[in-house]
């Protein structure tokens, strides 16, 4: 009785005999492909962000050097409005250049 029950239990608990579920495999492959694509997008975005930060830091350092140079300091003392206008124009130009980058990716384009 016990042996029969054990054998019965083992048989019903064993994995059923069937062919591999191709639908399951395909669904999983699609999900892996999606994950890979998203990971690649994340890597690209991170790289872009780091490059942009490095660029901005370089520009800021350049502007700082120019702004603290003796020629600019003396000009700032003579005509502060002119120097401020030039700095603002340079800043606007940098912003425009960043916004117009051909490789720039907006978040909306990821959806």
């Amino acid at each position: 009785m016990t042996d029969n029950f054990d054998a019965f239990l083992s048989s019903v608990l064993a994995p059923p005999a069937r062919d591999p579920d191709r639908q399951f495999v395909l669904r999983l492959q699609a999900r892996i492909a999606l994950e890979e694509r998203l990971a690649a997008e994340r890597r690209t975005l991170t790289n872009d962000l780091l490059k942009q930060l490095a660029g901005l830091l370089a520009i800021a350092a350049g502007i700082f050097c120019i702004a603290t140079s003796a020629a600019v300091t003396s000009l700032f003392a003579e005509a502060p409005a002119l120097v401020l206008a030039v700095l603002l124009a340079a800043f606007a130009l940098v912003i425009a250049l960043i916004a117009m980058r051909p490789g720039s990716t907006s978040l909306a384009s990821l959806n």
């Binding site: 059923p16 591999p20 492909a33």
Partner: protein
Amino acid sequence: MPAENDEDLALSRRAAAGDTAAFAMLVEKYELALRSFLVRAVGADHADDIAQEAFLKAWRASAQYDGRARYSTWLTRIAWRCRLDALRKERAPVQVDAPSSSVVHSREVDDMLSRLSESERAALVLCDGHGWTHAEAAELLSLPLGTLKSTIARAKSKCRAMWEGA
């Protein structure tokens, strides 16, 4: 190392290098055993989600499979951790649902299993149905070997009592 482990290790290494076809072969080879274990142990509603999550994690961790254990053991361990993580997130006991129609079963057996605790079901299904050794199952379920053996004996005894009382 057994020849089957060698073969799976080779496929897993190819998967780690980005070969999705190699990983698909592993999925085809092991989805049946994993999903039927999960259907029995945690219920049909959760089984496929956990199996998919486990395969995804196995894909990401392909480089970590070293061939010392069977691939099915390694994979089931990942799936079981996924299950425990899900339980921790839910913070509530989950009832076992009706198994999916794709798995051969009888209603009586499902009813019988649903009255066992999840660890009793898992231990019983792995050792009695899937041919795992007690040591492998004990490691998976984080139980001492003696505790696992008594868990299985208790589960069988409960099943037998239910079966004979039915």
